[in-house]
């Protein structure tokens, strides 16, 4: 039974493709040299080194801490925005327009502005992360709020549920899946964006150490940290967002 399930778990075709990539990678690495393309083996060795020395936790921790503040702040403001959009039609219009503007603003704009405003400090990547993830999460929540079934709210009126009870029983449960979807996309974006912002002005974090590795010509470490990023992303997706979404959808 478990023997027959293993190939499905590993997703054999993907595994095959991975093998092919590693083979081609090794070949190209051998042809062009370790500076342009370090060998898969050196990347694995580099990964083992940073795990052994604990360096992996220092920089991943620093990046995650910034994301926690920037992205966490964005989620908080997005929830408040959704609340305003729910309570007032006027606010909904303003929020829609504001989000359209924010959604059209490039990451680079916020990086440059944040360096001007906050200098070379932790606040620059935090602010950039905040500004980029806010419209993504807020758009989702606002859409969720607009999808709340008015007929269920009317049912609440019939049975004299208070505003708070209607909010708890109707609005929150119907908006949560949208919030979760927004947070899932937003977190991925936060990781990608904060790492870029870390190239400037800070001395810790995955973005910093990748750029530093490039400067000292340790190309294999650039690949190692890229691998760390990918792992962080996949693990949070599986362990946090998928788990929470499954729990939320247990009534489906």
């Amino acid at each position: 039974m478990s023997a027959s399930r293993w190939p499905a778990r590993l997703h054999l075709p993907t595994f095959g493709a991975l093998l092919a990539v590693v083979a081609v990678w090794s070949l190209l690495s051998w042809r062009y040299g370790a500076y342009l393309l370090p060998s898969p083996l050196s990347v694995v060795r580099g990964f083992a080194d940073i795990v052994g020395s604990g360096e992996v936790w220092t920089h991943t921790g620093a990046s995650l801490a910034r994301i926690l503040v920037g992205f966490g702040g964005a989620v908080l403001v997005a929830v408040l925005t959704g609340l305003a959009a729910f309570l007032s039609r006027l606010a909904r219009g303003v929020v829609h327009d504001a989000l359209a503007v924010l959604n059209s603003t490039s990451v680079f704009v916020w990086i440059v502005i944040s360096i001007i405003w906050f200098g070379l400090s932790n606040w620059a990547p935090i602010f950039t992360t905040f500004m980029i993830t806010l419209p993504v999460v807020a758009s989702n929540i606002v859409e969720g709020v607009e999808q709340v079934d008015r007929r269920l709210l009317e049912m609440g009126d019939v049975y004299r549920l208070s505003g708070g009870e209607k909010f708890r029983a109707v609005v929150i449960p119907s908006t949560l899946p949208y919030l979760m979807a927004g947070m899932k996309v937003g977190f991925g974006l936060a990781l990608k964006v904060s790492v870029v912002a870390e190239i400037f002005g800070v001395t810790s974090g995955i973005g910093y150490i990748m750029n530093y590795s490039r400067e000292i010509l340790a190309t294999q470490m650039v690949f190692v940290w890229a691998l760390v990023m990918i792992l962080v992303m996949m693990l949070t997706d599986k362990l946090v967002f998928d788990a929470v979404s499954r729990r939320l959808a247990r009534w489906r």
Binding site: R151, L152, V158, R160, A169, V170, P173, W251, R252
Partner: protein, 251 residues
Amino acid sequence: MALKLQVAGVGKDYLIPVIDSVAFGVEAGEFVCVLGPNGCGKTTLLRIIGGLEPATRGEVLLDGKPVVAGDAHDRKVGVVFQEDRLLPWMTLAENVALVLKPLGLSPAERRAVARRQLALAGLAGFETYYPGRVSGGMRQRAAIARALAIEPDVLLMDEPFGALDAQNRRIMQNEVRRIWKETGRTILFVTHSIEEAVAIGTTLVMMSARPARIRELITNDGAIPRGELIERLNTMIMEEVERQQGGAPLG
């Protein structure tokens, strides 16, 4: 005897007059079926009686007190809509227990009432099921259980079985009739099916075409043979449909 429910000259205009003027009284324990051609304002009338929409003219009195739409109210009116309007993320029992909160019952009492009402509606054993896991007929039963749980002064039902197939519809009609006999509630039931109205109502209110008035009020106590009554009501409805469409009478 004081009337349970009094509909006094109620009218409603949207862009055009939908309900001209409707007046009738309902005594406690009556089972009133409101009939009429499609689009004549039956649902609107029910929503006005339930305080979900304001009337343009006239007023509705429940136990002598005017029903005012939009205000916070202390009415005990159960409404079963065309859709079940259960919260999909709550179990059937939780759905029923939810509406008992404003009545000030303790959590244990709420659970007990929910269990009892679901059993009365034939849903014993399904208390912990989510609405998405049971059939449409069972969802509508749960909606009825919820409406009955608050011990309503009046139970309003707006074509509650419209979405069910013929077999389930028949079963649910019998169920509602049984529940009505067991609980003695006052029920106002909107339907476009004459057979349904004749099968379950004690009083039939036949509405005219838009703008609606009452065309005829019939006591369904068996004095008129069922077949004859159905035939008479069918003739009336066809006349009203023709009037609504503005055409000449057929044949």
